[in-house]
Symmetry: D3
Subunit: 236 residues, 6 copies
Amino acid sequence: MSGVIVTDPPKAAAEDVEALAGFGVATVHEAMGRTGLLPARLRPVQQGVRIAGTAVTVLSWPGDNLMIHAAVEQCGEGDVLVVTTTSPSTDGMFGELFATALKRRGVRGLVIDAGVRDTAELREMGFAAWSAAVCAQGTVKATGGSVNVPVAIGGQLVRPGDVILADDDGVVVVPRERARQAAEASRAREEKEAASRAAFQDGQLGLDRYGLRETLARLGVTYRSYDAHVRDGDGA
Amino acid sequence: MSGVIVTDPPKAAAEDVEALAGFGVATVHEAMGRTGLLPARLRPVQQGVRIAGTAVTVLSWPGDNLMIHAAVEQCGEGDVLVVTTTSPSTDGMFGELFATALKRRGVRGLVIDAGVRDTAELREMGFAAWSAAVCAQGTVKATGGSVNVPVAIGGQLVRPGDVILADDDGVVVVPRERARQAAEASRAREEKEAASRAAFQDGQLGLDRYGLRETLARLGVTYRSYDAHVRDGDGA
Amino acid sequence: MSGVIVTDPPKAAAEDVEALAGFGVATVHEAMGRTGLLPARLRPVQQGVRIAGTAVTVLSWPGDNLMIHAAVEQCGEGDVLVVTTTSPSTDGMFGELFATALKRRGVRGLVIDAGVRDTAELREMGFAAWSAAVCAQGTVKATGGSVNVPVAIGGQLVRPGDVILADDDGVVVVPRERARQAAEASRAREEKEAASRAAFQDGQLGLDRYGLRETLARLGVTYRSYDAHVRDGDGA
Amino acid sequence: MSGVIVTDPPKAAAEDVEALAGFGVATVHEAMGRTGLLPARLRPVQQGVRIAGTAVTVLSWPGDNLMIHAAVEQCGEGDVLVVTTTSPSTDGMFGELFATALKRRGVRGLVIDAGVRDTAELREMGFAAWSAAVCAQGTVKATGGSVNVPVAIGGQLVRPGDVILADDDGVVVVPRERARQAAEASRAREEKEAASRAAFQDGQLGLDRYGLRETLARLGVTYRSYDAHVRDGDGA
Amino acid sequence: MSGVIVTDPPKAAAEDVEALAGFGVATVHEAMGRTGLLPARLRPVQQGVRIAGTAVTVLSWPGDNLMIHAAVEQCGEGDVLVVTTTSPSTDGMFGELFATALKRRGVRGLVIDAGVRDTAELREMGFAAWSAAVCAQGTVKATGGSVNVPVAIGGQLVRPGDVILADDDGVVVVPRERARQAAEASRAREEKEAASRAAFQDGQLGLDRYGLRETLARLGVTYRSYDAHVRDGDGA
Amino acid sequence: MSGVIVTDPPKAAAEDVEALAGFGVATVHEAMGRTGLLPARLRPVQQGVRIAGTAVTVLSWPGDNLMIHAAVEQCGEGDVLVVTTTSPSTDGMFGELFATALKRRGVRGLVIDAGVRDTAELREMGFAAWSAAVCAQGTVKATGGSVNVPVAIGGQLVRPGDVILADDDGVVVVPRERARQAAEASRAREEKEAASRAAFQDGQLGLDRYGLRETLARLGVTYRSYDAHVRDGDGA
């Protein structure tokens, strides 16, 4: 895997990134037709933080962080570093020194489908990270890889310049061309949800609000009292 | 799976639920002869919260939250919603809108053997949840299932009206008929533990307090000095 | 498995343990040539705590905490209890009563390749623990095992008296004979890292600081503009 | 967990068990409305074998096979031994000696949500087994448990006397009262499948046979040529 | 997720597919610079079978096989059906009836990042399959998805018309534009391997053949006799 | 991790290895007091094969097989290659070319706590292997490691020259100094098992043969008829 470092990829417009930053991961994922969600194994190392930025992607060899060094140079204001490996690994490829270098360059956080370390220091310095593992296992700098090529994490494609949005619920990727549309759809969804929230606080049921009683009837789901259910021998 | 929604199941007595709420999950599980514990994969999304309530059970299709909508209507003051799926899933079937509707009805929390989302909002609004995953993955409303039928989670049967007790250590189910007995046995156990705690603070050993030196001897466990152990070639 | 309880094993010197306590797990692991790290499944039940101490080791039967009772007697000031089982288990073998007894004896914390319970109480009383699971599942006291024999956790050997260092990043073991050397190497590494940190804050790149541009060239990793990359048909 | 050994439970009628033995696990599971399937982690240690019999259930402590010894006495002609543990375990609780004793008693096989060993010998002697693990790890005989109580494996309840059907696809449980109905529904399903098989061999499409073109249209799934799809910017 | 069914995608040339069919998965993966390998969780349900064909891709809802029905119509001579789900699932989405329909259309096999069932029947009828699970759990036909869109499995992108090569070692995807080049590189690699094989049979060492003694020396790996190693205190 | 290659370690006596080869893994593990078993994740790539030999150990970087090349030179007649990595990995570090080289040197097989590939070829050439994964993922030759140092796999220490015994049930390590004793204890155990087998074939129960009725009584396990059990409200 000799690899390539791609420079100056197109990026989502900054104003669209900012617009997306106003919504939660679940909202944006829903607004995009339930697409774009990275796998549930990516968990935040901090709580209560949300970031949005443009992806700088890294494809690394497991146990080897050479290409993260190469990627730092490609990172700038408003980026999010996105790292994956050619085969599954929990090694702690990223720590506080990398975060120091990235923070200086205006990078907003890290998403890594491998391990991270120095988590106490990352929290202290306010550098946000989402990872598949927390592990102090060290890495070498011996093997080539690529920067700013499309990478796949779980079932999702992440291209350089795509928008990465991450919060306590996980990480979603928004293709750079769809950032504006996703922000608008998110706003529409949020308004709809606000109306539902108010209705639910007033005591309306989702069954009625979403017309689901008809769905239940169509599917043959029936209502029975507990006593009748047990009398007929189906209860326990 | 056409399904059934069972109404008005019997419930554990409110005073027994309150009594159980005074004990930790580990204490009640022990007091019931080490039974009733739901699997360790169910983890709280918040820290330092304990709830007790009566189960409203849901059996859903994976990736489909139709039956949770049906279940909301069956939930009332003092209940805990318990959701499982017909096959394993980490989808985020439950979020802040459901929590809003349930909170208004006096529901005390959620236990779900699948995913939950909007976790930051759930913490903020004080709606307690235990789940097998945190994941923003959205779901449809297309497939039937059942409400208030007995469900099995891990190796445990949960029936509607059974008591659910959950804290930082996990979730335990207490059969509704055994709620009073479990509360009494928990109180007895706690008193015994208080005495042990005091004894341990005074420096007594469990070996002596529980008569375990005899057990060790009966099992053939022997004491040897490190030097003798190494000299005989079994050390490292 | 009749088992043996080994008494008075040699221990790392207290001053070396104290010296190691000044460094993070990642630093010490790196300073020892990237060795000694226990598996990533061992996670802290608290946040922001670091402990260092000398290992008292326990090899237990799964679902059985008899040998932890035997181990308490072997524990003293400055020790860390290290527990593993003969086959994988998530049972909650250790809780607040054990912690009470150990705290009185001056023990600094617990590392267990199984489950722990009473986690809220452990946090409240300030007894630090790292475990493979949080689970209230109770255990019996029926089967023999050993105390202060060498145990292997993940790929690492832990002998009685070895230094255990644990923080938010995980757990590392330092062989007792290498404690001083590890502390010195950690100090050297920390100084080097401080210099790197300052350089990164000044904007230097790891590529330049560590001479990695040559490595990239030797490995055949090339730089290309995004436009050229796409034009040649390798982008997406 | 002091435990109980329940004797002489009711059993499904032998003729219904025989009838069910004529169908595959998938067929019976479907015929029962997609219920009763034990979790996918239960895999056969042999290939190409199908068994059906009435369950003798065992609830054991992890790492302890005492209760399997107690269960042997409760087993007879046409039974299937079903073993689970109070907490997850991969220990090899069952091997060739147990199989020898069970075979003499006319037992048809083993389903165990833990480990099995002596797998080469089991294959050689023709004793069928489904297990969550193959592992030689030995067990003790020190802790109580129960025989012929209802047990839950994955999300399914297995009661003594229920029908267990197992083949290369896994294991399904049929409640003893529903055995006849399940056999009849399986036969009906198989006839329907035979007709579908013939139709598919003739080239008919499921889309047409099951009326799914309407479903697709209702769900808004559209057909587009690859060229149009790429031209509009949604392809890759 | 309303979804789209894309018709008539471009496909790799049949002669290139045939050429690739002559090599093993490991060989082709290596020949492409160690890229294209699908995750290790995809295992064959049969042994000793190798297939090569062009991908027809399916993106389905978990627990729902509606889109496989839609995909059958898009499949033809020389294709391989590739199925993934929007979130992880082990449900048995594919069985013998689908295989019957696909076989008639000349389809060479199935790769599914979910469950498969009727495995005994699949082996008997000679329809090859690779899956993440074997599980009889049934599915519904209720939710939309897509056919012949790019899908990501593990870290790999699979586009319709790409070459799928599968054998006992797993599954590799070859982008349709690189099929010829991959076949040629595979042939070259196989010739090189034949030479190495002969050399190894003659007793040559990889250390010498690949010039690795220099690598070891550069990395500081040293040779020491066991006696010296133990005398210096580093052995065990 | 600069690493060391240790030459000429002591080995278990050939006659003791041959003696152990006559027993199954479960038998030897039991005969050694239920010790020495490597983790259940190590599975054979073939069926019905048993090997015994002396360990040549390798500690490798994940995704890097350089040290296996170094180890080949240290392997000879009657050895078994034992490979582990510094952090978990499923990469296919070993394939048919290595097997060719090792077979010529009289090596009996491979045990690897990582991935293996070319499994069809390994089966064909009769080179036995046990691995944690089957995966074609390729590896580099870039990072140092060690040969013939003690390694820990799961909870077990494997030293160079220790006996490795592997069959369908898994892998057990016998310390080289205990090889003779383990063979003798295995023989004794097998005789005891033969007597038990005969007794079980004659219909004796383990409850009586092993005196377990007393154990059950002491533990408070009681016998109850199903009817009484249900009447008292504990059945289901």
